[in-house]
């Protein structure tokens, strides 16, 4: 008996008992349930999925990314069929695939290759939605972090957008006022803080790991990176330790911060007059120093789903069709070559030139299934360092030790 049936029976029994023979709850037609992170691009694409099937067949639940990951991994680890389709980025995809929670899509991919022109996705994108040689998710968007800055303020101050971290810090210091923070910083654990740290660790440090998965983020360059991050926080808005992408977006939109790292998917919101007080005042460049995060996001099908997998695959393919992505290009970079290489995009959306450069200098998270668990450890210690509870070096050493212990227990070192 699946959990859906258990629920229907229980609900009926209780409803009957409560209403003393009132109308019983009939088991609904099998629905497809999608769980996703809430942000503008994903709101659009999950909407496309709902439109692909008759009304009411598809329900979508959107929530902040850390909550979504929590819900998805709790549900999947219990092998429940309560989630059919789940939003995953390249890192969480590896974790879920390695744990055997996802349905491999190779056969369906082969079958529908021509109908949906799936060869249009570049090899690098296919690679990022694969694990161990199998395709596990339908690519929906390529996302990259951009450097957002207030062009009006920069012009007024007579400075150019930064190309190095030092210039970034100087600009943040210069534009910092009591009412307007120099720069946004999104340090809410886990997702947001990990993204921000990823940038510093790559731009100033030597990255997270060496080739044998030994942590190197606590070496001299790593300490320098997080020390700089700590110094940068003096120009961050109040409450930055609990800011994720939503809060940072609001701070930029409300004119409460002058610059900072934020996702491509938030660019369009800057020019939305209903939400933003800085329409046409924000400009974009590739993040100074390089090494900010690149991600490929997609939607995967749960191994435990009791819905029709082929139907779900077709629903995902509809949402990822060329037509759908042409419209979605406003919210996120479409991974399809036919759309991405369209010269019209840059004319239509001001942030595309910066994004193309960010694609070249950016860096994905380390390709390991356990990086999210590493993130749980690392962000906690980095926050301790940044808020001054622990010395930077000591915090990073401790983080490295715990990381190594975790990876050892997951058999990384033979």
């Amino acid at each position: 008996m699946t959990s859906k049936h258990v629920n229907a029976v229980a609900a009926t029994a209780i409803a009957t008992a409560v209403l003393a023979g009132g109308t019983a709850v009939a088991p609904a037609q099998e629905q497809i349930r999608i769980v996703s992170h809430r942000q503008p691009a994903l709101e659009y694409y999950t909407g496309q999925m709902q439109a692909a099937l008759p009304d009411g067949r598809v329900t979508v639940e959107l929530m902040p990314i850390d909550r979504q990951m929590e819900l998805a991994s709790i549900t999947m680890s219990s092998q429940s069929d309560a989630i059919d389709v789940v939003y995953l980025n390249d890192t969480s995809l590896k974790r879920f695939a390695a744990n055997g929670w996802l349905e491999p899509l190779d056969e369906l991919w082969e079958k529908y290759k021509d109908e949906y022109n799936l060869d249009d996705f570049p090899a690098s994108v296919i690679d990022s939605v694969s694990y161990d040689g199998h395709i596990y998710s339908m690519p929906i968007m390529t996302n990259t972090e951009l450097f957002f800055y207030r062009s009006d303020l920069f012009e007024e101050a007579g400075i150019e957008p930064p190309t190095t971290m030092e210039e970034y810090m100087a600009a943040a210091a210069q534009l910092d006022t009591p009412r307007r923070a120099g720069t946004i910083m999104s340090l809410k654990p886990v997702d947001a803080a990990l993204n921000e740290a990823h940038w510093y660790i790559n731009a100033i440090g030597d990255g997270w790991f060496d080739e044998e998965w030994r942590p190197i983020f606590n070496n001299e360059a790593g300490v320098e990176a997080i020390t700089m991050m700590k110094e940068m926080t003096q120009y961050a808005p109040r409450g930055f330790t609990s800011h994720a992408n939503d809060e940072s977006t609001i701070n930029l939109q409300q004119g409460l911060a002058a610059m900072g790292l934020q996702w491509f998917t938030r660019a369009a919101a800057m020019d939305n007059p209903e939400q933003s007080r800085v329409v046409d005042q924000i400009d974009w460049v590739a993040p100074p120093g390089g090494g900010a995060r690149l991600a490929n996001d997609g939607f995967a099908i749960s191994k435990f789903s009791s819905a029709d997998k082929e139907e779900m695959f077709r629903m995902l393919a509809e949402a990822a069709s060329e037509e759908s992505m042409r419209e979605g290009a406003r919210y996120a970079m479409p991974p399809r070559l036919s759309v991405l290489e369209d010269e019209e995009l840059a004319k239509q959306y001001r942030w595309y030139p910066a994004a193309r450069r960010a694609l070249e200098t950016g860096k994905a998270f380390p390709a390991m299934p356990d990086f999210l668990d590493v993130g749980e450890i690392v962000t906690r210690h980095i926050l301790q360092a940044v808020t001054g509870e622990v010395e930077v070096k000591a915090a990073l050493d401790q983080a490295a030790a715990e990381t190594e212990e975790l990876l050892r227990s997951r058999d990384y070192y033979k």
């Binding site: 991994s73 009591p178 809410k188 654990p189 749980e376 940044v386």
Partner: protein
């Protein structure tokens, strides 16, 4: 034995049967799990004996979270008790006219804790929260209530107090109403000061209620979860990570259920020791007859 008593044991059956299946069995299972290295992701488990306990007891994070728990627990229960008792005395003083006030004062306790924590978050949130927005209006730059390690702890204590002070107030108020009023009046006629009446008549009579409220609150505060989860998520860093938050992180975010079970068992031992010694202490004072 009287005849009607004979079938009585059957009455225990449903309840104790339930308790055995849904309480004792899971607890025994948790105890059993605590001896395994068990990562729920890969579904592999291997027996490690006391490995989890040793690993936990030798790591700094456990002790840090233990301290945080103790600071928050005693801070909030202390605050709740002092304020709650003062409110109860005030209500008692007012007699009948206190009815409406007592209902209004009790309101925060009825609200679902998650919702109550959200209410407080909207007061304490930086920039847009009521407190921040008000202070910023007068050009005062307040501290970062939820983002600074020190203030975050205080905010959590304050939040717990907002939700649970009404409970202590209500219990003590009910206990006060059970007092023999003639005794107090006699003392008043004798010209005893308010302070002396409180110390020698009211407090001794209230000892059972006081022991009860403080013990119940202490055990609850050791396992409280919703308030921190909503307000700070244990952050910034680990500044408000209590032992319960840590267990949650281990068990349900990192899916290391063996280690998390071991931490649960450790928590149980700590709470038991703490409560037993607390009760012994108060009982001794109680028996001695005076404070």
């Amino acid at each position: 034995m009287v005849r009607w008593q004979r079938g009585l044991w059957l009455f225990f059956l449903p309840s104790f049967g339930l308790l055995a299946v849904v309480l004792l069995w899971p607890l025994a299972y948790a105890f059993y799990l605590s001896f395994f290295d068990y990562y729920l992701g890969s579904d592999e488990r291997s027996f490690v004996g006391f490995g989890n306990y040793v690993a936990l007891l030798t790591e700094a994070r456990l002790w840090a979270s233990m301290w945080t728990t103790i600071i928050i627990a005693f801070g909030s229960v202390g605050l709740e008790f002092v304020v709650g008792f003062a409110l109860a005395l005030g209500l008692y003083r007012l007699h009948g006219s206190a009815k409406v006030l007592s209902v209004l004062l009790f309101l925060p306790h009825i609200v679902t804790p998650v919702v109550a924590s959200l209410f407080l978050k909207w007061i304490l949130a930086s920039n847009w929260g009521l407190l921040d927005a008000t202070l910023l209006t007068f050009n005062i730059t307040p501290p970062d209530w939820l983002g600074d390690p020190f203030w975050a702890k205080l905010s959590v204590i304050f939040a717990d107090a907002w939700i649970f002070t009404p409970l202590i107030m209500m219990v003590l108020y009910a206990a006060l109403q059970g007092l023999d009023h003639a005794l107090i009046e006699a003392a008043q006629i004798d010209g005893a000061s308010n302070w002396r009446i409180l110390r020698h008549i009211i407090i001794p009579a209230l000892i059972p209620a006081i022991i009860f409220t403080i013990s119940v609150r202490l055990m609850d505060v050791f396992r409280f979860f919703d308030i921190i989860y909503v307000l700070t998520g244990g952050g910034p860093g680990t500044a408000t990570e209590t032992i319960t938050m840590y267990t949650y992180q281990l068990g349900f975010r990192m899916l290391q259920v063996g280690k998390a079970s071991a931490l649960g068992v450790i928590t149980l031992v700590v709470v038991a020791v703490l409560l037993l010694s607390f009760n012994k202490l108060l009982n001794r004072i109680y028996r001695a007859g005076d404070i």
